[in-house]
Symmetry: C2
Subunit: 404 residues, 2 copies
């Protein structure tokens, strides 16, 4: 029987429920006699290379449950994208600590690291079972109906747009907010869940799955504003022109890039301000407000989906079960089996590693600036119980006396 | 016995609980036989002048309760700051509709409108009872311990910084967020409620009550970053230099101004981006992220304080009781009478109208870039039940094998 340590780490951008997966895995792992210790690597794979491990066997159950309910990676995370040498250093550290199981919670880049480490272990004849545990607010993982972390971020975005739309309704004008999502528009599209009745915003939704055309954009904003006297707009940070050049890059000159070669899109209000200025100057609308949801949408404390919490817990637990009882390395995938129920599966790492899923055409309205009812049906069960509801006065008008 | 219509309106920026006050007033008003109709003016006093009234007597109780739980002014709001002529038009419309009671929910500018209207009514010998019902996320009303709307906005800011701090802890660097509050720093100061243990952010808090000095700012950011390897900063949108010139104005050239002559500070990420750039260029710190909380902090659906909901409801109900049974016009004030309990009082309009309360010196740390324990004691009971709590792994370290 395989025995040794189980090492777990968290990579990439945090989510509001990523610690559910950590705790789901840790609590499950502690049941198995053959697991001689549950180690957490601090700051992702960087912590493995640096042997920066904490003993998760020593954490109390009460504290683990409190951590599970806390947003953002409790072990710390990393944006490092390991190359082959880096992965060999990871493996050397895992070997030195007698690791038999390696779990890494993250997105498609994280899956790629797991894939390389598992291949290097096999090549060197080291018996290491490697499982990728999914998370990403972008919802861009292949093979899964959706990714843990997305439902809670979607709930935040929906509730944010609901409030912003009510705000804009009371003080009319144009309101625009930029939502995270470089290549996949799922999170921006979730803004559609803010609508209840005809006329509710967001009235326009711009996704990275469609080329952004400023002339069409301005024409659509004007049309909504002419009709309702106001306009609420959701914009993905990743919108780009027909050649694929992000709008933010076109205007921004030198941009910060991360280790993956991606331009920094978040943590700045530049794109929102740019679009707000264009609307002001080109359409002559006076009251234009442009927000950028920034880091709140992935780490806000106190706005998670119960469905997301439960599933994030389950993928962690399932990953350990697969690592112990399963027959190979892999990535945990979520499969929708009903309306609404899910099953979990272990798929081979190459199917997920480094790949990006974007929104299906069936989810995007023909106009290119809205979602379809099919997307709303897909999203609805993910948002969970107790989603805020916008109510309104029925507003029976009183007859005028002076101006009748 | 005075009899006639009761007209109610909402003015200024919305809050997450302003409809509690509306509904508190409407439900109470509908009990009195001498109130011959409860009218809501759409878009504040502009709706009065335009005779844009809806019949709140006709709204069902169930819908009113649902509206009470919905953020942002259900009747619509206005930024109009009426002069004497405007106020005479308000009065003419109120008279034409047989109004005996006028309630206006808003901040200190709203109170000023109520004051002028009440004086004009008295001068013209028209028997009109006028009551200002307080609301403002800025918490800057004189005579009150705090203003309805502030506790919920403070809860949002606290939970947002809690999440942002956890995010920054997992991917270290500098995180800065700009919070609403032109002259009063209460809402920015509320970020301090995000902290649990030593080392938690926000590490630095910059308020409009103290002159902003960029050299001191950079030195403090550097000091925190050197110590913790990261730094989380809360900045009020109203920070200004020793001469009172807002930082945003110094850099921004021509700025949009509202009817009150105030420069637009919200709805743009410019200040956050500016400060982020300064930190990057002057301190050479690579990972700097700058958010602007924008409109979410005053209208986010699903993050209110139960204390705030209850008190906002009570000030509306209390205003009607005072209008019916009281002896004069006035503004409703909240008085803290215990730890924690409140009483309500009607104070004369001139004590609140057009005046601004700022943070007491006792609430601001000698450093000028933090709050005191006295402020945290003041804030704590306002935030309500079920505030998110940040938990952390205790993190017992595993001994190194390779690098010991």
């Amino acid at each position: 029987m395989r025995s040794g340590k189980l090492v777990i780490a968290q990579g990439g951008g945090p989510t509001a429920v990523i610690n559910q997966s950590l705790v789901g895995a840790v609590l499950e792992a502690r049941f198995y006699r053959q697991i001689e210790g549950v180690y957490g690597a601090r700051y992702g794979v960087r912590g493995i290379v640096n042997e920066d491990f904490v003993d998760l066997s020593a954490e109390t159950r009460a504290d683990l449950e409190a951590v599970a309910a806390t947003p953002s990676s409790a072990l710390g995370s990393t944006r490092d994208k390991p190359d082959l040498d880096y992965c060999r250093n990871i493996l050397a550290s895992l070997k030195a600590h007698g690791t038999a199981w390696f779990l890494y919670i993250g997105g498609n880049d994280t899956a790629e690291t797991v894939r390389i480490v598992s291949e290097e272990a096999a090549k060197s004849g080291y018996d290491l079972r490697c499982v990728h545990v999914p998370k990403t607010i972008d919802n861009d993982l292949m093979e899964s109906d959706h990714a843990p972390g997305f439902p809670s971020a979607a709930r935040f975005v929906a509730q944010a747009f609901m409030g912003a739309d009510l705000d804009n309704r009371s003080l009319p004008g144009v309101y625009l907010a930029v939502v995270m999502g470089r290549d996949a528009g799922f999170l921006t599209a979730a803004s559609a869940a803010a609508r209840t009745v005809e006329g509710d915003g967001p009235h326009l939704i711009y996704l990275p799955e469609r080329a952004f055309d400023q002339i069409k954009f301005l024409s659509e904003v004007k049309s909504v504003h002419d009709r309702f006297g106001r306009c609420v707009i959701a914009v993905s940070e990743g919108i780009h022109d027909a050649k694929g050049v992000p709008l933010s890059v076109k205007r921004a000159g030198t941009m910060e890039k991360d280790a993956h070669g991606n331009v920094q899109l978040s943590g700045t209000g530049a794109l929102a301000d740019l679009l707000g200025q264009v609307i002001k100057s080109e359409l002559g609308i006076k009251r234009v407000r442009a927000d950028t949801f920034g880091y709140l949408q992935r780490s806000f404390a106190g706005c998670t989906s119960d469905v997301d919490r439960r599933e994030a817990r389950e993928v962690g637990e399932f990953a350990v079960k697969q690592a112990i009882w399963g027959t190979g390395n892999g990535s945990v995938a979520i499969r929708r089996t009903g309306d609404y129920a899910v099953d979990y599966a272990l798929v081979t790492l190459d199917k997920v590693a480094g790949k990006t899923k974007v929104m299906a055409d069936a989810f995007i309205a023909p106009s290119g600036s809205d979602v379809t009812p099919a997307f709303r049906d897909y999203l609805r069960p993910l948002l969970g119980l107790g989603l805020a509801q916008a109510a309104r006065l029925r507003g029976v008008a009183i007859e005028k006396v002076l101006k009748r």
